[in-house]
Amino acid sequence: MSIILQNIFSTEFVYMWIRVVTPILLPALGGAICNRAGVVNLGLEGIMLLSALAGVLGSAFGGGLLAGLAAGLGTALLVSLVFAYFHLNLKADATICGTAINTLASGFTVLLLFTITGEKGTSASLKSFSFSTVNIPLVEDIPVIGKILSGHNLMTYVALLAVVAVWFLLYKMPLGLRIRSVGENPNAASSVGVNVRRTRYIAILLCGALTGLGGMYMSMGYLGMFTREMVAGRGFIALAAAAMGQSTPIGVFLSSMLFAFFDGMSNTLQLLALPSQFIDMLPYLATIGGLTAYSIQRARKAKRRLAE
C-alpha cells in the first residue's frame, strides 16, 4: 500500500496525471460544446480513432508534422460534417449516427492500416512524427512545480488552454450565447432570428476539431504510433466527463481530472501483483462510480427542494 501512496504523492505521478488527462479533456470540452448546443455527440470515440490514424498517415506520407496535423484535423472535421448532415439535415437520431461513426472507425482504421502497412496491429513500420514536448522557460527551473508543469507534450498545453478558450467562447462571445440558447430552447432562439441548424453545425465542427486533437495526441504524443483500438474508451469517458461537469468548462476540467486520476492510478498499480485486466478496468469503474455518485447527488438535491 505504502508503495502506491508514495507513488501517488510523487511529482512523477502528478506529471503523469496531467499527461493522461489530455486525451480525455480535449474531447470532453468538445462534447460539452455539443451538449450546450443540444446535440449529444456519441461519436467522439470514433472521431478520435480516425484522426489518430489520419494524423500518423498524414505525417508519414506528407513528410512532416504539419501535414499530419492537417490530415488529422481534416478527417475529424469531415466525419463531424457527415454526422451533422445526417443528424441535422436528414434528422437521423444522434445516438445512431454516433454509434455508426464508432463502429465504422474501429473497422475502417484496421482496414486502412492493413492496406497501407500490411499489418493489422500497429503503424510501427511507418516513420511518423509526433508533437514535440515543450519546456517552459523559467517555470522548468522551479523545484517540484517545474517538474510537474514543464516538459509536457505540446498538445497537453493546447488542452489546458482550450479550457480557457471554450470558457471564453461560451460566455463571452455572441456565438457562445447562441450555442447555449439553441441547446436550451431552440424555439426561443429561432424566434429572434438565430439560425438553429447553423449554430449546431458550428458546435459539432468545433467539437470535431477538439476531439480530433485529442485523437492525434494518442498516436502523436502519448504513443509515437497508431495501434488498433488505441483510444480504448476515452471518447466515452470524455462524454461522461462532459455530462458530469454539466458542460461547463471548469466542471469538465475537474471531472476529466477525476477520471484521469484513475487512469493514472492504473499505471501505478501495475507495480503490484494484481491481474492486469483488473487494473485496466479501474478507470472505467471509476467512470461508472463517478456518474452514479453524481446522479444520486442530483436526485437528492431535487428531492430536498421538494421537501422544503
Partner: protein
C-alpha cells in the same frame, strides 16, 4: 401617423396540409397607435391568423399590407425586420440565461470578438426605463415570476424594433395585479405610438383596454367595432353565433355519499413552489362538482394528484373511501375512476395509433381483448372499436386510421369513449370541451350530465365559466393554490360572482369555504 392604417390582412384563407380550414376568409385591419382586440372562441382561427402575421405560417390565399404596401412575411426573422413583435403565450425565453442575455440574443452588440456587455446593459436599461418596464437585468429568467417574464418578452420585442406588438392571450397566466400592471404598461406603449394587437376572449379585459375589436368566428370575420359602441352581450353573441347562456336541461341533483374526499392537499412543483396549498373539499356521488380558476392556479396539479399522475406532498385523498396515495394509476382506474385529461394530444391519446387502439388502450389486459394475456384478440377488439364509434358518434372514414388525423372534437370523443365505456363511478374531467366544436361540446356535456343522473361523481375542471355554471351543481374557485370561494348552489350565481374570486379581488371567509368539506 396615428389613425392611419398600419396593417391590413385581406381575405386571408389558410388551409393546413391535413385539410383543416383554419381561416376561411378573414379581413383584419389595424390602425397606427391603437390597441386592437382580436376575439373569438377557441379554434376560431385567431392563433393561425397571428402566425401568418408573424411569418410562422403562409396564407393559402389573401394578402398582407403593411403601411399600405403589399408584403410577404416569409419567416419570423422577416416579421421582426418589418417591426412586428410577438409575445407568445408560451414564453420564448431561455431559462438559464440572464434577462440581458435573453434580450440581446440574435442581435448581440459586439466589441471585437466578444459581446459588448456594457453596451448591452445600457440598451436594456434605457428601454426598460423609457417604458417603465422594470426587471432585474442580471437575474436569470428562470428565477423570475410569470409577470416579469412577460415584461422581458415585451422588452425583447421593443429592443428588436417592434412597432406592432402582438400579445397572445397575455393575461391567461397573470394574477389580477399583474394584469392591471400590464394594462397600464400597454397604454403607455400605445400613447408612445406603438400599435398593439391584443388577442383575448375575456370581454371585460377587452372593454378595459382596447380601442377597437375584430371578432372572428369559425375562420371568418364577424365584424369590427369601436369597443365603446358595443356591449359584452353583443360581442359574445357574435363570437359564438347564438345566445351564450347555453342552458342544458338539468334535472335536480340527488347527492349520494362522498366520492372524493380531499384533506389539506398540498402539491409542489419541481422547484418547490406550492401549487396547491392545503385545500380540502368533498365531492359527492350524483353531482357535478366544479372547479373554476384562472389557468395556473392549481387546477392542473389538483387533477394530476387526483388521477395519480403526480405525487402530492401533504394531506390526503380518499376516493370511494380508499386512500389513493401509493396506488398505481392502474390500481386507481381499477377502482372505477376515469380521467379525461386536459391536454388530449399529449396525455389523452397516442397520435400514431388507430381509433380502436386508442379506445381500448386501458383495457389491453382485459381477458376479452387478450385471452390469456399474451396475444391480442383482434376480432373482439375490432368489434369493440366499431361499437365505440357508433355509441359516441365518432366521425371517421375508417377505424384503422391514425387518431391524429381526426378533428379535435372527434379525438375528444375517442378519449370519452375510452374513459366512459369502462363504467366509471368517478369521472375526473379536465377541460373536456376545450377546442372542441359546438356539436361535440354539447354531446360531451350531455354525457357528463347523464352520468351524474346515474349517480356517478363528475369532477369537472374548466376555464369556461359558462360551462361550469351550466353543468356544475356545486363549485369551488381556486386562486393561488387555495380555495378562494365555495358556491353550494350554482343556480343562484352569475359569472361575475365567480370572476371576482378567480381574479383574487375577493375571498370568502374561512367558514364559508369550510362548508365545502361538510
Amino acid at each position: 401617423m396615428p389613425g392611419t392604417e398600419i396593417l391590413r390582412m385581406e381575405h386571408i384563407r389558410k388551409v393546413y396540409s391535413n385539410g383543416v380550414v383554419a381561416n376561411s376568409d378573414i379581413t383584419f385591419a389595424v390602425n397606427h397607435g391603437e390597441i386592437h382586440a382580436l376575439s373569438g372562441e377557441n379554434g376560431a382561427g385567431k392563433t393561425t391568423l397571428m402566425k401568418m402575421l408573424f411569418g410562422e405560417e403562409q396564407p393559402t390565399r389573401g394578402d398582407i399590407y403593411i403601411n399600405g404596401e403589399k408584403t410577404v412575411i416569409a419567416s419570423p426573422t422577416a416579421a421582426i425586420r418589418m417591426g412586428i413583435g410577438m409575445v407568445h403565450q408560451h414564453f420564448m425565453l431561455v431559462p438559464s440565461l440572464t434577462v440581458i442575455e435573453n434580450m440581446i440574443l440574435g442581435m448581440e452588440p459586439r466589441k471585437g470578438l466578444i459581446i459588448d456587455q456594457k453596451l448591452a446593459e445600457r440598451q436594456v436599461a434605457e428601454i426598460s426605463e423609457k417604458y417603465n418596464l422594470i426587471v432585474p437585468p442580471h437575474a436569470k429568467v428562470q428565477d423570475l415570476t410569470v409577470g416579469q417574464k412577460q415584461k422581458v418578452e415585451i422588452l425583447k420585442a421593443l429592443l428588436h424594433g417592434a412597432k406592432i406588438m402582438i400579445l397572445d392571450e397575455p393575461t391567461a397566466v397573470l394574477t389580477p395585479q399583474e394584469t392591471r400592471e400590464l394594462f397600464h404598461e400597454l397604454k403607455i406603449l400605445r400613447d408612445s405610438g406603438y400599435t398593439i394587437i391584443f388577442i383575448s376572449h375575456k370581454l371585460n379585459e377587452v372593454r378595459e383596454l382596447c380601442d377597437r375589436i375584430t371578432i372572428i368566428r369559425r375562420g371568418q370575420t364577424m365584424g369590427v367595432y369601436d369597443v365603446k359602441d358595443v356591449d359584452e352581450e353583443e360581442i359574445s353573441h357574435l363570437m359564438v353565433g347564438r345566445d351564450v347562456a347555453l342552458h342544458l336541461e338539468k334535472k335536480p341533483a340527488h347527492q349520494g355519499e362522498a366520492a372524493i374526499e380531499v384533506e389539506g392537499l398540498t402539491v409542489r412543483n419541481i422547484i418547490g413552489q406550492k401549487k396547491l396549498d392545503g385545500i380540502s373539499f368533498r365531492a359527492m356521488r350524483g353531482e357535478v362538482f366544479g372547479v373554476a380558476g384562472v389557468e395556473g392556479n392549481g387546477q392542473t396539479e389538483l387533477v394530476e394528484a387526483l388521477s395519480r399522475n403526480m405525487d402530492f406532498h401533504g394531506g390526503s385523498i380518499r376516493i370511494l373511501g380508499k386512500d389513493i396515495s401509493g396506488m398505481s394509476i392502474r390500481q386507481l382506474r381499477a377502482q372505477k375512476v376515469s380521467h379525461i385529461p386536459e391536454d388530449r394530444m399529449t396525455t389523452g391519446i397516442a397520435g400514431a395509433l388507430s381509433i380502436t387502439e386508442n379506445a381500448m388502450a386501458d383495457k389491453s389486459y382485459n381477458p376479452e381483448f387478450c385471452g390469456k394475456g399474451t396475444l391480442l384478440r383482434k376480432k373482439n377488439i375490432k368489434a369493440y372499436g366499431q361499437k365505440m364509434v357508433e355509441r359516441y358518434h365518432i366521425f371517421c372514414k375508417d377505424l384503422d386510421v391514425a387518431i391524429s388525423s381526426l378533428s379535435g372534437g372527434n379525438i375528444q370523443k375517442v378519449v370519452l369513449a375510452r374513459e366512459l365505456s369502462s363504467d366509471p363511478e368517478v369521472i375526473i374531467a379536465d377541460q373536456p370541451t376545450r377546442g372542441v366544436d359546438v356539436g361535440a361540446t354539447e354531446f360531451i356535456r350531455k354525457e357528463l350530465l347523464r352520468l351524474r343522473d346515474e349517480g356517478k361523481c363528475v369532477f369537472l375542471v374548466s376555464s369556461d365559466l359558462n360551462e361550469l355554471l351550466g353543468l356544475a351543481d356545486r363549485l369551488i374557485v381556486l386562486c393561488g393554490g387555495k380555495i378562494a370561494a365555495y358556491f353550494p348552489d350554482t343556480t343562484a350565481i352569475t359569472e361575475d360572482d365567480v370572476g371576482q374570486y378567480m381574479l383574487g379581488l375577493d375571498r370568502q371567509s374561512e367558514q364559508e369555504i369550510a362548508e365545502v368539506t361538510k
